[in-house]
């Protein structure tokens, strides 16, 4: 146990230490300043603008920015959809894989464009190298960059006074991809390749089993590059079906550490960026603190539950619940990954969530159900969290006798509408999606288990999709026309409703004057506020999901 504690503490310390310089670096990128990579990348950036005939200095109004985001994503969606339907006829298909069914193609396109990376398929037996590289990997980059760009818009909304425009989407998208995502991915890929993650275009390898000499096919491919961005961009879609529980995707404890760290590093750094950009580091710190507290609390519950609350495994494994876990990782590293991948809307796995203890699984589910705001998706996690901050400010602000304001901006009806849309979308879509599935006549047959655990499987699946997480509980047969279509629609809605709400919220904030702060102003950076924000997040989450959790993991826990 003490090793697990040391490992977790080391992880959190490294995360905290790296997030500060990275956050400050991202701030410079957002602001369009020169950074140390500019020498190399500035010419590339210029070339991209020239080729795409983009005016980088263009200032967009919120409506135009929103339209650009939607148009760009729609184009990406269409391209990915067609690529899957046609992959059987296209090159880079050494295994001769067939084209994908239309509903799976729809679901996968929706999933990758929405930064969810829910996978109703196993990569090695479904997607060709071309689809993986040109379709999925590209979306891994740009869907992540889109999330960060939208966050930039919101940050600008707070920082600007009486402004009509919120920046250029094309410039934001290009700069984030070029200066942040690609360099970090290269560093991470190199580290992963050094650990033995494969990166090749050669066909699958045939081998003989050590045990009985049976013939095995070892799937290969350009994996390392996709895995790097899958972790960094809170995507989570594995190159291989078993995701990071597969040795060629995650071979060593060090690769596991790098991959876990990459899950959280950008969302954590963006808190620092936020504080810097609004010229009040304490604001970023308090949001960061709330995320860390929720993360650490979840980590503790998951670890304790996996380590001690699995009595029926007591006689099998000496170290808690090892069902569905990679021996190399053990309970500690699997719990840390589990907390990280559901805190961030990543969804990559290095163990099977379905086999976690009921409480461990419930905490993972609850982390998602909070709306993916504990670190959350790159960009999207922080703008979701800021919506909660504004909600908290609204209630607390009234209690100090002023009409509420956050960072000097008065919160008025329009802002409140957008904030409520941001907060409302994930729980509603989760519940409605899961209810729709429960109403389907054949729903029972999609499940691995019966009783409360069976219900958990359905709830987890829609929680994952409706929060753009993408992790699978396993046990839930996801590749049916019904789940593919409902899931696809849910993923798109829960991605783009908040994105539009955020952009228009930012536009409205940017237009406002800034109110001066004084003694009578509610502080949004002290311990009281952090506590209050925690309370609001937990109460809204609990009020939305307590009944369904009672029917799933809570009943499951009490039954065993």
């Amino acid at each position: 146990m003490s090793f697990i504690i040391l490992q977790d503490a080391f992880f959190i310390a490294v995360l905290a230490a790296l997030s500060v310089p990275l956050g400050l670096y991202i701030y410079k990128v957002m602001d369009g300043r020169r950074v140390f990579l500019s020498r190399v990348l500035a010419p590339v950036e210029k070339a991209v603008y020239r080729v795409c005939s983009v005016r980088p200095g263009e200032e967009m109004r919120p409506r135009k920015y929103a339209l650009s985001v939607v148009a760009f994503s729609a184009a990406g969606f269409l391209f990915l959809f067609l690529l899957q339907l046609l992959q059987g006829f296209l090159p880079l298909n050494p295994e001769g894989l067939k084209s994908v069914s239309w509903h799976l193609a729809f679901n996968t396109a929706a999933s990758f464009v929405s930064n969810t990376n829910w996978q109703a398929y196993a990569g090695e037996s479904t997607m060709t190298y071309l689809t993986q590289a040109l379709g999925l990997t590209v979306q891994n980059f740009v869907s992540a960059a889109t999330g960060i760009a939208v966050l930039f818009v919101l940050i600008r909304g707070f920082a600007m006074k009486q402004a009509e425009t919120v920046g250029s989407f094309w410039a934001d998208l290009t700069r984030v991809t070029l200066y942040v995502l690609i360099p970090l991915s290269i560093v991470s890929s190199v580290l992963l390749i050094s650990q033995g993650v494969v990166q090749t275009l050669s066909p699958y390898h045939a081998a003989a089993s050590l045990q009985d000499g049976a013939r095995l096919t070892v799937p290969l491919g350009p994996a390392a590059s996709q895995i790097a961005i899958k972790q960094l961009g809170t995507n989570g879609g594995g190159f291989f079906g078993a995701n990071s529980a597969f040795p060629l995707e995650n071979p060593t404890p060090f690769s596991n550490f790098i991959e876990t760290l990459s899950l959280l590093i950008i969302p954590a750094a963006l808190c620092v960026t936020f504080g810097k950009a609004v010229k009040d580091g304490r604001q970023g710190r308090s949001v960061y603190a709330v995320m860390l507290i929720l993360f650490i609390a979840s980590l503790i519950v998951i670890t304790v539950s996996e380590r001690f609350l699995a009595p029926h495994f007591g006689s099998v494994a000496a170290f808690g619940n090892m069902e569905g876990k990679e021996v190399m990782n053990g309970v500690g590293a699997s719990s840390l990954w589990g907390a990280s991948t559901t805190a961030a809307s990543n969804g990559a796995v290095n163990a099977t969530p379905d086999s976690f203890t009921p409480l461990g699984g419930m905490v993972m589910m609850f982390l998602m159900q909070l709306g993916e705001i504990v670190f959350g998706g790159v960009g999207s996690g922080l703008y979701g969290m800021i919506a909660f901050v504004m909600l908290t400010v609204f209630i607390a602000g009234l209690m100090v006798g002023r009409t509420p304001e956050y960072l000097g901006k008065k919160i008025e009806p329009f802002d409140m509408k957008m904030v409520c849309l941001l907060i409302l979308a994930p729980p509603l879509l989760t519940l409605i999606g899961a209810a729709a599935a429960a109403l389907m006549p054949g729903a029972q047959n999609w499940l691995n288990n019966t009783g409360a655990h069976g219900f958990s499987e359905i709830l987890y699946a829609f929680t994952s999709m409706a929060n753009n997480n993408g992790s699978a509980f396993a046990g839930f047969d996801a590749n049916t026309a019904f789940t593919n279509i409902t899931g696809g629609v849910v993923m798109l809605l829960v991605r783009f409703i908040p994105i539009l709400a955020t952009i228009f919220l930012a536009g409205n904030l940017a237009r406002k004057k800034t109110v001066a702060a004084g003694e009578g102003t509610l502080s949004t950076s002290n311990a009281t506020f952090v506590g209050l924000l925690l309370g609001v997040i937990l109460i809204i989450g609990a009020l939305s999901f307590l009944p369904s959790l009672a029917l799933g993991p809570i009943a499951d826990f009490l039954t065993h």
């Binding site: 909600l391 009234l398 209690m399 009783g451 109110v515 003694e519 509610l522 309370g535 939305s544």
Partner: protein
């Protein structure tokens, strides 16, 4: 008197009870989305009760009926809360209507000929008509005095029985329809037509007829609707969830629609939803009782946000009158001589300052009144041009009659006067003048027969307790700025003594306007009080502008509130009322939301008991049964509305504290209280129900 009050209260309650039923009409219910859910739930469960009699049922008819009844009561309680808040205003409006009766007005052809008039009804008067009003008559409509001066009884509007002076020209020329002339006569130019008069506006405001939802209220409403939508989906999806789970578990059944409706109603933020509009109305009526009339609800909320107060020095910070506190003679003059001359020149001076000089002279040297006849005295009145007053008199010296003159006044005026007449103005006197000004006083220089005698120190008396008051305001983050016509040195001294944060000396209307704009540019919200026409631009610019009722029409139109008492300290009360209104909203919202936690713990374990009996482990409240738990929760939900009506009307307790402390305090009371109290109350209700045999 007491009896009259009780009976008035009784009629108000009766009135409110009647209104609570009237407000059950769909048209009234649609306005409040949260309570609309309760309303629809009540209709639905009633319909289900009727169906259950016909045999189509998911719960026993008696249980469905009880649920339906509790829901109807919940809706009625919410209506009652709003009606009782409105009833106070309605009572006030009725008494105002008494003052608005139609009277015969004497309409003049021209102001020059007051005798030549035709009698018309006041409601037929048009703008710019001229009317003649004599003593004992009612002023027919709002207007401006063109000619004459009279005392007017404005008690119908202000409640203040002492008559006030209204006269043509200057800042006291506005008259209000419905008030009564006590003496003399006036010729008035009408400025408003029937239906738009001040009294009409006032009636509409207190009655809440023109009440629009304020932006903050709308924003809060959006939040409440959001919560309601979440709970709607949470409870509605329980139907498929429990149906599915019971199939998976092989035991139990889907929960009933009756229970889903009950669960939805007790989770929806009905407490704040029911009280939201009464909080707003009560805030307005608290302001009315402070004799302030807000032109919109928005203005009250803005008052809560104000962080800069512009306060007039005179009357707010200092007592209206300066008082003589010291005689400072120049070398060669005794203090008594100076006092004697000062007293002599002030005998006829009826101003408070003049009198205070006589009083000081009497206290210090026993100088009393004298025989004016023998002195052949001629008093020189103070004018704005000479800025001096004084006396010319004769006295007998060595058997010879001599004409003396004494002048007292502003230092520079007296200096010029003396120098012009060939006298000397000693440096010593300059020094004394500077010293007095430096102390925040007003120096008056006295000269007799071209010889400077010395300086009278008129002291500005800072009001008792203002320093502490400003200290409190500072704690709340509100800056106070003193506005005065004094010179900067005097102003600085008084500002320091009173403890204001800043001051504007030698204030002009333009100066005030610039000051307000500067503060606003820095992101502050500014409140001010004004009365004169020249205040109008500044009033129009300020975020909260309180015009005095005694002021001009222009000032009243530029402001967004009217202070019927014309009291300069009113601004501070207005800020308090604004803050209290917002705090009450926040506190009850917090209370309403935290209540849900207990309701969940009460209901969920017993609700799913049939499907997963193990969930009974969570029933640590040990409630009797699913039925008694649900009934207890919705009974609590209905009763808490009634229990909190007094709080909604009165507003939460307010203290001048910094934001952080205020938040912790309210969080403890309403957050923690909201978390804990329903546990106790629901358990108690459950015990009673179980005793009554509910199973």
């Amino acid at each position: 008197m007491k009896k009259a009050k009780t009976s008035q209260k009784n009629t108000q309650i009766n009135d409110a009870l009647k209104q609570s039923f009237a407000k059950l009409s769909p048209k009234a219910q649609v306005k409040n989305p949260v309570m609309l859910v309760v309303y629809i739930g009540a209709i639905l469960t009633t319909a289900m009760y009727i169906c259950s009699l016909a045999g189509i049922k998911d719960e026993s008819p008696a249980y469905t009926l009880v649920i339906a009844l509790i829901l109807w009561f919940t809706a009625l309680f919410a209506n009652f809360a709003e009606a009782i808040a409105e009833s106070r205003g309605r009572a006030q409006a009725n008494s105002l209507r008494g003052a608005r009766k139609d009277v015969k007005a004497k309409k003049l052809k021209s102001a020059a000929d007051a005798g030549n008039y035709t009698e018309v009804l006041s409601s037929a008067l048009k703008k710019d008509d001229l009317v003649y009003v004599a003593a004992g008559e009612q002023i027919p409509m709002d207007g401006e005095v063109v000619e004459g001066a009279a005392s007017v009884d404005e008690s119908a509007i202000t409640g203040e029985s002492a008559p006030v002076i209204r006269e043509s020209g200057g800042d006291r020329s506005a008259v209000t329809g419905g008030t009564v002339l006590v003496s003399d006569w006036l010729i008035i130019r009408i400025t408003a037509e029937a239906g738009e008069s001040f009294l009409d506006k006032m009636i509409a405001m207190v009655e809440g007829a023109s009440r629009k939802k304020t932006p903050n209220e709308i924003a809060l409403q959006i939040l409440l609707v959001t919560l309601t939508i979440i709970f709607l989906v949470v409870t509605a999806t329980l139907l498929p969830f429990t149906a599915f789970s019971s199939r998976l578990a092989g035991s139990g059944a889907a929960i009933s629609v009756t229970n889903i409706v009950a669960l939805l109603v007790c989770l929806a933020p009905t407490t704040i939803g029911a009280l939201l509009s009464s909080i707003g109305i009560a805030g307005m009526s608290r302001l009315n009782r402070a004799n302030v009339l807000a032109m919109s609800g928005r203005a009250i909320e803005a008052a809560g946000d104000v962080d800069v107060l512009l306060l007039d020095k005179t009357g707010t910070i200092t007592l209206g009158n300066r008082q003589a506190s010291e005689f400072i003679p120049v070398t060669g003059v005794s203090e008594e001589d100076l006092a004697d001359a000062a007293q002599l020149s002030s005998i006829a001076d009826e101003t408070a300052e003049g009198r205070s000089i006589a009083v000081l002279a009497k206290q210090r040297f026993g100088i009393r009144g004298r025989d004016m006849e023998n002195l052949n005295a001629r008093f020189i009145e103070f004018t704005a041009k000479t800025r001096m007053s004084g006396i010319d008199y004769t006295s007998v010296h060595d058997g010879e009659q001599r004409v003396n003159e004494i002048r007292k006044g502003a230092a520079d005026a007296v200096k010029n006067y003396v120098l012009q007449k060939g006298g000397l103005y000693p440096d010593e006197c300059d020094a004394a003048v500077r010293r007095v000004a430096g102390l925040g006083g007003t120096p008056l220089v006295v000269e007799k027969n071209d010889r400077v005698l010395g300086v009278i120190y008129l002291k500005d008396i800072v009001k008792n307790g203002v320093k502490e008051r400003f200290e409190d305001l500072r704690k709340m983050g509100i800056r106070t700025v003193m506005i005065t016509g004094d010179n900067p040195m005097t102003a600085a001294a008084i500002a320091a003594e009173a403890g204001v944060d800043d001051f504007l000396a030698e204030a002009t209307p333009e100066g005030k306007l610039t000051l307000i704009r500067d503060y606003q540019a820095k992101g502050h919200l500014v409140a001010m009080t004004g009365d004169g026409t020249n205040d109008a631009p500044a009033l129009a610019q300020a975020d909260v502008a309180v015009a005095m009722n005694s002021g001009t029409q222009a000032a009243k139109e530029a402001g967004n509130m009217v202070d019927l008492d014309s009291s300069p300290t009113k601004l501070i009360d207005i800020v308090r009322i604004g803050k209290q209104l917002l705090m009450t909203r926040g506190a009850l919202t917090t209370f309403s939301v935290t209540n849900d936690v207990a309701k969940y713990f009460a209901i969920i374990p017993v609700l799913f008991f049939g499907i997963f009996p193990q969930l009974a482990a969570l029933n640590f409240m040990r409630l009797g049964s699913a039925k008694s738990a649900i009934l207890s929760a919705i009974i609590y939900n209905a009763l808490i509305i009634v229990a909190l009506i007094p709080l909604a009307l009165r507003g939460v307790k307010y203290r001048e504290l910094p934001a952080g402390k205020m938040l912790s305090r309210n969080l403890t009371v309403y957050g923690l209280g909201g978390l804990v109290s329903p546990f106790i109350a629901i358990k108690a209700i459950d015990l009673i129900l179980t005793l009554c045999g509910v199973k």
